[in-house]
Subunit: 158 residues, 2 copies
């Protein structure tokens, strides 16, 4: 579980570096599919990871911050770093026994559902990988090579 979070964080950093060579208007341009732009995708990944992990830690929901307040590469990176400092200790202290703990969540329509903690962790992992796949298509549209999605050859198991 932890390795997949580490993979996501490493890939995310690679994409932040990739963004440095791209004009900000390209990063903010509305595109087909996903949540609509490169930067909004990175912002959304950061926000969803933070809000679910915060919920596991505290059973409290967080409001999504308005993207307008973070619509630049430097601001999304800063938000990612800020949230990362909050959630990394929680994830690093994860044990397999925590997978089967249960938690109840209520959505905006008032519907309540019960989840396993491990299910939420895996949902967050898959969420980021899925959206990164969308970035890889848009990278080619911009005429650039995307960041590799390979999990091997990243030194995660050394």
């Amino acid at each position: 579980m932890k390795k997949l979070f580490q993979y996501n964080w490493q890939v995310r950093e690679d994409w932040f570096r990739w963004c440095e060579d791209i004009p900000e208007e390209e990063l903010l341009k509305k595109r087909v599919g996903g949540v609509g732009s490169v930067l909004y995708t990175l912002f959304h990944i950061v926000d969803v990871e933070q809000s679910w992990i915060h919920f596991l830690k505290t059973q409290q929901n967080l409001e999504e911050p308005p993207f307008e307040d973070y619509a630049s590469l430097s601001k999304v990176k800063a938000l990612s770093n800020q949230f990362h400092a909050e959630i990394e200790p929680f994830i690093q202290s994860w044990t397999n026994e925590m997978d089967s703990l249960t938690i109840q969540a209520t959505n905006s329509k008032g519907q309540t559902a019960t989840f396993r903690h491990g299910e939420i962790m895996q949902h967050v992992i898959a969420h980021e990988i899925h959206h990164i796949g969308q970035l890889s298509v848009w990278a080619r549209e911009i005429g650039r090579e995307p960041v590799t999605a390979n999990l091997i050859f990243r030194g995660l198991y050394e």
Copy 2:
């Protein structure tokens, strides 16, 4: 680990069903990014999962079958089912202790590297989720709603 494979298999089946409503020429159309078409992506996902798991089971490499022999929805589905029958028992019998086993692999350039078995399993999981993210962009290009990538609300933990 097993839950993430089950997630991928369920999402893959959803995409096969999604494909049934799309003209085959759209499924085979060359697109920007990824491996180039919806059907080739599904074929590639199926092939990569099978070849890595086969390698973990037998330490033998498999050749990639030629896509020309599988370039229809029914043939890719049949290949997926055939391979699934071979690899599912291996994945279902996975235990956490197997994660740390090591295996050496040699690529086509003769370079050898050592991997953990768990690292290969996670590489295969991330590989499928990443490519499915690409399909979701192409679905919108075709004017269709993509399959949900949510891991929650799939009954995986019931």
